[in-house]
Symmetry: C2
Subunit: 223 residues, 2 copies
């Protein structure tokens, strides 16, 4: 069986878990911490980044969330996530990159640094200016999701795609860290509630990080 | 004909130009500056990032270098760049992400900030500590290329792939900015000379940025 080296609050691990579950790929979880990876993990990926997917039986190692998602898109027909014609597929990949790169740099990464790393590792207080900035940028991204959902139903078009899972993975980590305020974003909020209620999403919503409890609404699919 | 909105020293624009040329896709260049994009450019990509590829005849707009490369991989058979079986294609995509993300963050982006943006826009002196750190990290990446080329011939395996072009695009920008020292990296240097001598690479090597001349060896395919 595939072994997924992941970190619970890594948005790229989450994107990968969602895609694997949607496509019906079985895997077992190996928990790694970005600040304290196991030797085994580093031997699989010297770059030290989650997620890494390893199949001991065939000695195959897959690294990078997008490379992993493309691999299963090519090898498993169930639930296509990069779908449609070439231009539609390009639109899905554009949005995946937007959330993987821009949303992560603007929102998820600063929140992880200020509210997780400083609390658990650096034992320092978060920088309120950095947090305000991340939440301001989160609003801009949520506004764009409002627009996309209002005009297209799903983020990349009329069908659910990897773009929805990439975005929901980032948002779920930001929400765990108290960085998402849905006020004024009814369309985006409605879309996220639907994402949250998918069976693939449930395991993520019940995981807790020691010493860092999520806000009460985090795991509630109705709020 | 496709119109490519690009910036000469943007490594992602370069990766896209190399892939388009290798696949025989005709396009015309529209020059944009990251600090002063045209209205037309922002109307095509509000995120303001190069490269953007637009086809006025069909009103198709493609954004994000990887989404663009995947699009032409799916629609043009000539010169496959993401090739082999699914695991080999995953290895190509892993390395593309490594250079697009890690090499860029470690080396290309700091060099662009310190040696280009500070000189042309901010009118400030580069930070020598930042430059030293970028060049130190460049050595680590070149060491990895030495290893890959020594063990596989091309970066991702026995055949040239998008991984080679993604890496060469980053290195060419870093080299333009004086950040590449080939000392001790004979394998990587030999590989890069071969990349430089490809017809797809030539136009990049003759372009100069006003007020920012490249080092003498930059455009010489023999050095």
């Amino acid at each position: 069986m595939w072994q997924l080296y992941h970190f619970s609050l890594c948005p790229f691990s989450r994107k990968t878990r969602l895609a694997l579950s949607e496509k019906g790929v079985a895997y077992e979880l190996r928990r790694e911490y970005p600040w304290d990876g196991s030797e085994e993990f580093y031997s699989r990926n010297p770059a030290g980044r989650t997620p890494v997917l390893h199949d001991p039986a065939r000695d195959v190692t897959l690294i990078d969330s997008q490379a992993i998602c493309e691999f299963f898109e090519e090898t498993i027909d169930k639930t296509p996530l990069i779908l449609g014609n070439a231009a539609q597929r390009a639109e899905i990949r554009r949005l995946v990159a937007l959330f993987d790169q821009n949303f992560f740099a603007d929102v998820t990464h600063p929140l992880m640094h200020e509210k997780m790393k400083k609390r658990l590792i650096l034992r320092a207080a978060p920088d309120s200016g950095m947090l305000r900035n991340a939440m301001r940028l989160a609003h801009e991204h949520l506004e764009y999701i409002d627009w996309l959902v209002g005009n297209r139903r799903w983020l990349a078009g009329s069908q659910m795609s990897l773009a929805d899972f990439a975005a929901a993975a980032q948002i779920s980590v930001a929400d765990y860290l108290g960085g998402i305020d849905w006020g004024g974003h009814d369309e985006a909020h409605g879309w996220y509630r639907v994402m949250k209620s998918r069976p693939s999403f449930r395991p993520l919503l019940t995981e807790k990080m020691e010493g860092l409890p999520p806000p009460r609404h985090y795991g509630d699919v109705n709020s």
